[in-house]
Amino acid sequence: MRHRATWLAALTAFGMILAACGDSAGTDEGDSGAITEVGEGEGALSIVAWAGYIEDGSTDPAFDWVTQYETDTGCEVSVKTAGTSDEMVALMTGSDEFDLVTASGDASLRLIAGGTVQEVNTELVPSWSTVDERLQNAPWHTVDGKHYGVPYQWGANVLAYNTEVFGDTPPDSWSVVFEETTLPDGESNAGRVQAYDGPIYVADAALYLKSTQPDLGINDPYQLTEDQYQAALNVLRGQRDLVGRYWHDAFIQIDDFTNEGVAASSSWPFQVNVLVGAEAPIASVVPKEGATGWADTTMMHVNAPHPNCAYKWLEWSLNPKLQGDLAAWFGSVPAAPSACDGNELLGPDGCTTNGLDNFDQISFWKTPTEDCNGTGGECVPYYRWVTDYLAVIGGR
């Protein structure tokens, strides 16, 4: 595996030289991909997706929402998984071979601004009306009243905690992971909390400051002025002394909750579901300060080679069975709320467990930009978040 990574790195470097040579081709084709009605499928469909998002039953036969689509439409699905939002952006901007991408909020606006994805004609997606109304006009896929994608799934970064440690008084504030405190079991939280090992976590600190230090005037945790940003970094530096390990791999965190005596951490419903399923003493809340979260949108490439199959998928992606199965698989919340009822894999309370009622308390991920996401003013851009968060974890 390590060897393969090395080869890939070498090949990528080589590929970049080639790409740099042939960069100028194929950028000015206008809106050629827009269609007015969905015709016969082209026989194939190519999707860039998060791992676990497009399951064809090969991981677990119970989770399959591709085979039926292929039978119905004759479009054979191929999936290219990506590990980060940046990888998704690179794949989509770098080629014309992909039709769709399941972009999170920190990628979608970049794709729209770069002219990589095309406007979606919602009239060609009959199930559009079943999409959660709160998502229909969400700012991460709607620009100037135009929709650039179909909502797929969303979820929150919840506060997971150990019920044996907290007993009858579940935590109601992120302070248990940001400030040194004595937990209900009588011991300090130092060394017993975790934090997310990704720069976007700076927003979690900013969200905490938003309510605990209103003087800073933080409005949106992804649009921070220099002063607000430094305050957030200071919170994170203090947190460094409390954190035993930063997590980025869901399974490592599951193991740490089981074997390392972790008392509380920012987490995903996915880990919580797995742990609860294994009868570990773990529960989760969205604290009073709110939480950060992600909302993914299926977007269509401006030069999608199979637009008819792509539209058929956009419609298919909203069907209650798929939405419910996916939510059960991924620990997320369906974009189409009707999927919450009567899904066998999800169970009657699945959507509530995964956070359906928390929508209003969530600040959804988006990429911090220097122009404050186009709202004017001066904000600290994402690449600095990366450098500085690395330094914080390194103890600086």
Binding site: M1, R2, A10, A13, F14, M16, I17, G83, T84, D86, E87, V89, A90, R110, A190, G191, R192, D197, G198, P199, V243, G244, R245, Y246, H248, D249, I252, D255, T258, N259, E260, G261, T367, T369, E370, D371, P381, Y382, Y383, V386, T387, L390, A391, I393, G394, G395, R396
Partner: protein, 307 residues
């Protein structure tokens, strides 16, 4: 000899006459690989490091600048480099300390089946996946893992607690401490230290040791003045493996330890997460320069003759 006119024979005859063509065909592909793909990547990497990331759009600005290199020499990045190099050096020294006696024993005191069995025992861990071994260590060292359970059984919990309270190497549990990380690094790379040392010790003629003893050399003197100098190339060769493998590793620091970034991890984040290719490229030159210096030193110690 009618077959001598077959095409294959004519080809081989003509190749025999044209030495340069023969050499070209033989080495052409490897040289193309080394110079084109490997060297080309390095040049591309170096070129990238003189670009910078545009603060507004987050895209790479391809006009030459030294700005990215200035970012390399910040406190935080130097701390990352220092931590990585320090760990690599510590792991190398520990691997020599643990590996040398074992290698010496295998080379000097075993033969036949016992020797094969011992070499096999050293090699067997390499047959299982690196990730599996790292994750197993995570469980062994966990707060509720075997080590802490066993130390409780023999009444050593206090000792373990005292060790974990030490600054720098301590932490909430062994698996989240720098000490635990060090133990895992040593375990993972140890075979690469043992094998070259064993090969080097085996090449020390027994008569040298006897001669030393005849001349009145005590075992310690013999070791210091005969065995160690002759085995040094093997030690240097092994240290190249342990040092460079630790320097470049970016998996162990994410699974074991307190998540403090190593160089490999920093490069990965800058490239994969931030999309800051220029800075990632510039950071890549830290391990390249360190290894170049290290290899120069190792060559002086004769490491390349012992490989």
């Amino acid at each position: 000899m009618t077959t001598s006119t077959s095409p294959l024979h004519r080809l081989s005859a003509s190749l025999y006459r044209r030495r340069r063509l023969r050499l070209g065909l033989l080495l052409g592909l490897p040289v193309l690989w080394l110079v084109g793909v490997y060297g080309g990547s390095l040049v591309s990497l170096l070129t990238q490091s003189f670009f910078r990331i545009d603060t507004f759009s987050g895209t790479v600005d391809r006009s030459p600048t030294l700005q990215t290199w200035q970012q390399v020499f910040t406190d935080a990045n130097m701390a990352v480099a220092g931590r990585t190099i320090g760990m690599a050096a510590a792991v190398t020294i520990a691997a020599v300390a643990v590996g040398f006696p074992l290698a010496y024993y295998i080379a000097r005191y075993t033969s036949g089946k016992t020797k094969s069995a011992m070499v096999l025992a050293v090699l067997i861990p390499l047959w299982s996946s690196y990730l599996v071994r790292v994750y197993s260590w995570k469980l062994i060292l966990a707060a509720e893992g075997i080590v802490s359970w066993a130390s409780g059984l023999v009444g050593m919990t206090g000792v373990l607690g005292w060790i974990l309270d030490l600054p720098v190497i301590g932490g909430p549990s062994l698996s989240t401490s720098t000490l635990g990380q060090f133990i895992v690094f040593v375990y993972i790379w140890l075979p690469y230290m043992i094998l070259p040392i064993q090969a080097a010790v085996e090449r020390v003629p027994r008569s040298f040791l006897e001669a030393s003893a005849d001349l009145g050399g005590r075992p310690a003197t013999t070791f210091r003045r005969v065995v160690w100098p002759l085995a040094l190339p093997g030690v240097a060769a092994g240290s190249i493996f342990t040092f460079s493998l630790t320097l470049g590793d970016y998996i162990i620091p994410t699974v074991i330890g307190d998540s403090s970034p190593f160089i490999g991890l920093a490069i990965y984040s800058q490239q994969g997460v931030a999309g800051n290719l220029p800075l990632a490229a510039a950071l890549s030159f830290i391990p390249i320069v360190v290894m170049a210096l290290y290899l120069t030193g190792a060559r002086k110690m004769g490491a390349f003759e012992a490989l």
